[in-house]
Symmetry: C2
Subunit: 199 residues, 2 copies
Amino acid sequence: MQLSSDTEKMILETARKEFETKGYNGTRMQSIADAAGISKASLHYYFRSKDNLFEKIFNDALDEYVPLISTWADDQLNWEEKIKRFTHDLVHFIKQGKMLFIIREVNRDPSILEERIKRAKAQNKFVTYFDSVQAEGKIRKIDTRHLYVLLNSICCFPAINQQMLQKALRLSPKQYDELMQSYAEVAADFFIHAIKKMK
Amino acid sequence: MQLSSDTEKMILETARKEFETKGYNGTRMQSIADAAGISKASLHYYFRSKDNLFEKIFNDALDEYVPLISTWADDQLNWEEKIKRFTHDLVHFIKQGKMLFIIREVNRDPSILEERIKRAKAQNKFVTYFDSVQAEGKIRKIDTRHLYVLLNSICCFPAINQQMLQKALRLSPKQYDELMQSYAEVAADFFIHAIKKMK
DNA sequence: AATTGGTTTGACCATTTGGTCAAATGCAAA
DNA sequence: TTTGCATTTGACCAAATGGTCAAACCAATT
């Protein structure tokens, strides 16, 4: 098996930007070729079809995302520290615009997740872990599935909805970015404060 | 000025569903016409162009959304009750899939918000209101702009990212829906708990 | 019945778009 | 230099798509 050539990598990188910003339906093979400085025929030489090219890019995005949200039991941090790490990592990942890309395309065609689902473990690791934290009486009573939703929400939404939040807060893109500098930390504290048992 | 005819309303309703589920780029004038049971030519008779039709539908969506998030000072509820009302209303609105629609299209073409921005008030009402709540010492110290982002996140994200959250939690669509029945209330409590000053 | 004006549509058009292919190009091995 | 193989591309194609238009349709008025 041959390693993917430089040209191939360059095309993937170019196409990724196009797909992430314009979505599958808004992206043209011609504009990918133009951006990559090659002919459309060459583009088809490396990746037979638009679907084929898109699939590779979408799967790469998932490969980055999934490990990020699946890691909960494999270190020695306490639950607060785990939350802080998770929040930090996810907020950073989301910043690149990959999350809106994933959500948009999954909604366009939910079947693109099917293959992944088969491979997935039977249990959600966050839920498993926080059920045990809850059993130890360290956090207050709350459905841990709700918790999972809440945690993902506060991490992902600010970047996904940047355009509107920014405008609602009357901030320039730069100002919004500055506000977001401290967001990951604030969000983690917010989350911990919301569920921690007070003495 | 004539009131819009029944046909016109019916087309708008049909087109709304198409645009909301498939997005601007994924929607075909022909499929709107088919779904409405009329010819493509008739569709163009009522709405000159795809852009024209889309603009009306997008603005209707914003007209529903904006008042929802702008109401903070005009009643006698205390801040916890206001949060509960807001969370309930927004979660319900989002459920219809309108929010992903808005986000998707704003990201496709940020300029579609420009007209609205000019009309907008200089101050964000949530921030103004919660700054005063904070000044009264009722909530703990936190940047109220972060609070605004956090509150919108927990209200909007669960419906926007339903597909993935549902799969991550290993739930069927029906089960996810059941989980979401109680979500608005849980989210409001979560939010209040996170910022309320403890005695 | 004839006229009028809004409504509806089949047929058609120009452009866009994903995809193909034979020919050309470059390049390393023989 | 020649052979062979991967790479690159201009030209081309078929289907899809937004949009147009003259003709047909239909209900109300004269």
